[in-house]
């Protein structure tokens, strides 16, 4: 059984970056891909918004170039019902120290019975995932493996 892999914005930015530290993160992610050769790879719309904003602000990379980067890793947007996720986020965000994109990605990953999240963010994601699991939007048996990269 293959576990779809969900990618956080940071990794997508790393893939578009010419920085050496970021290149090491890209290599780390690609090692995970090699270990899971049949796993599809995804991101979610809020992460794409963050990615395109960052690209537009800091570089001359065109949206088409960004699409080439996404194709290079075979990343496709994973469609989910945003309204349900927003409803849950509004109930918890007053006390939670994580943002909507993190929560959204965790919820998308929890749609699948077994999935993997790759992120560079070591602080917010465990909390976001914990809240997503407690949201009662998904079967309790659904499992997400969180892999924080250095």
């Amino acid at each position: 059984m293959s576990s779809p892999i969900f990618l956080d914005t940071g990794l997508l930015i790393a893939h578009c970056s010419n920085n050496k530290t970021e290149a090491n993160r890209v290599l780390e992610a690609e090692k995970i891909f090699q270990k899971n050769p049949h796993s599809s790879r995804h991101t979610v719309e809020p992460c794409l918004v963050e990615l395109f904003y960052k690209v537009r602000k800091h570089t001359q990379i065109s949206p088409k170039d960004v699409k080439t980067h996404l194709n290079h890793w075979a990343v496709t947007p994973f469609p989910v019902d945003a309204s349900k996720i927003l409803e849950k986020y509004l109930l918890i965000s007053h006390k939670a120290q994580f943002d909507f994109a993190d929560f959204y990605l965790c919820c998308a990953a929890l749609h699948v019975s077994r999935s993997i999240i790759l992120t560079i963010d070591r602080n917010d994601f465990p909390l976001a995932l914990s809240y997503a699991q407690k949201s009662k939007l998904f079967p309790e048996s659904n499992v997400v493996q969180l892999i924080p990269l250095m």
């Binding site: 914005t9 930015i13 049949h38 800091h58 994973f78």
Partner: protein
């Protein structure tokens, strides 16, 4: 390369339509509980993995140091 050799290679090459259908069947069997749109996203990704990365050049940019760890800084400054 002779016509015969080309035909031989073509005969041995995998049929892309068959691969497409095989992956669709696998995804439907593996993820029956997902929406058709979500299953389509999985199929598209798997097909891209099988087809390999695009041949176009990857244009990279300078986002500054550790930009991948500081995604939110720009958004909330």
């Amino acid at each position: 390369m002779s016509h015969g050799e080309i035909e031989k290679i073509k005969a041995g090459a995998p049929d892309l339509n068959q691969i497409d259908q095989k992956i669709q069947n696998e995804v439907e069997a593996e993820f029956p509980y997902l929406t058709p749109e979500a299953r389509k996203a999985i199929v598209e990704s798997r097909l891209q993995i099988i087809n390999g990365p695009p041949t176009g050049k990857l244009i990279k940019g300078d986002f500054g140091d550790n930009a991948s760890k500081k995604v939110k800084d720009d958004l909330f400054e």
